[in-house]
Symmetry: C2
Subunit: 304 residues, 2 copies
Amino acid sequence: MIVTVTPNPALDLTYHVDAFEAGESLRVDGALVRAGGKGVNVARVARQAGERSLAIAAVGGATGREFTDELTASGLENVLVRASGATRRSVAIVDRSTGETTIMNERGAAVTAADRAGLTSAVRTSLADARCLVVSGSLPPGMPNTFCADLVRAAHDTGIPIVVDAVEEALVAAARAGADVVKPNRAELRATTGLTDPIAGARVLLDHGALLALVSLGADGMLAVTPHGALHARMPRPLDGNPTGAGDAAVAAVAVSISRGDHDIRDQLVRATAWSASAVLRPAAGELADNFRELEQLVDVVDA
Amino acid sequence: MIVTVTPNPALDLTYHVDAFEAGESLRVDGALVRAGGKGVNVARVARQAGERSLAIAAVGGATGREFTDELTASGLENVLVRASGATRRSVAIVDRSTGETTIMNERGAAVTAADRAGLTSAVRTSLADARCLVVSGSLPPGMPNTFCADLVRAAHDTGIPIVVDAVEEALVAAARAGADVVKPNRAELRATTGLTDPIAGARVLLDHGALLALVSLGADGMLAVTPHGALHARMPRPLDGNPTGAGDAAVAAVAVSISRGDHDIRDQLVRATAWSASAVLRPAAGELADNFRELEQLVDVVDA
């Protein structure tokens, strides 16, 4: 089973409008409401790919109840522990005429030490059944930057590999703790290391202690960087669509590979690149298009 | 007591952002969450002015629970009956740098005959304690355009005057049923009657059977039109601020006047104009600035 942790879950509200401009007053259809956050998206994708997955998060308030209702209705296995603050919202407005998306991400309520302890305890309990742990997404206010690193140690204490999708200090700390996979995108890697070259940036994280850095490059594909070398994968041509959730599909691909015992870096990279491209074809994060396995055949990989 | 009915209540989410442009991805503070809808705003304003008020609406789903929680916490007396569909949301994004507001109003879930019967029954029960009934705001999908007219008859059956803030067919039907006050703004009156001149448009509603038409003209003030003549009131100079809720403050002013037994049209118009201007000074709908009584002294009234 793949266990995912979402430190800063959100109730995602998505509006599709005919044309969107700032300053307007619009009548719109009701929002598409989903339990969101990067770890939740990863668990949804892994499940769609046929892998058992469990989403863990701490939620609170009325939005937390709505989050719980949606996640339960979706059939995704979950452990939702109680947070003292209300779950944040994320509002996305998709302009049908241009495809342009406007997003407002609430920062989220500050977490308490008790919230953190409850979440960590739920993760530890779930590790008994896990073949791979994933921690993915931003940290809420009040959550120490060592949170992901602590989960790396907890996973390794029980012999479970862990994939970390985080940024800046939290990512560096997770690398230092020996995360099996770190997955920043190019901009996040630059913000974390100060380096413009993604291979050089990835090597910084490997020097810290990470075993594999997977760096998503948007339409330019993806890099897999290990202490032994770097591979660059891409689709023959970039696909048009919604890039939100593409990184989560890549994380899910790696987690699924690991949980199936496939530790070949090239295989993981191909799968991550194909699933990421497939997610672009879907309107919502946390979903793959039906062709995700076929896309794996199309990926080009070269040494980088 | 003033009883207000909100046929299409909304959970209002307001975001204040430093600068807003379509296509951006922003980190924002949590939304200001309020139980909203025009009738709720009217009840809040009447209460702030010292009048006992009761807000009636039908709410459902997780958003309905949040609506209920907020309204109860605010201390406003309310009767919230159960709706079969989830309460809609309204999302407002206020750009702090320009003051510009972008609004997305969800249309709302369709109401059933049972929803409508439950709401009407709650209104009838509340009329025993009422001195004025207000029905205000859009009708949800599935609600017949006779809804406001039916409430006019229900109010008059028990000798209670009624103020109707509605548009188009629902407004015409309410006028035909003999509504004591109708309150469209200039654009709504044009959409309802097809007439550009607001006095001519108001006379159409009076011909249908309404006793007083109060027409808000934005920065140009307000008209009171009766079968006996028309008065035009305005502030000495327009006030800068947030016009959302200004019309609701005008409705509250008239309802408060009626419930206090003040049936002088000029007094009602002065109060409506001043309270409306005062509401513009407040960031949220449903609130008056502290100076609302002083502003009444500044209103100029001329024959129109």
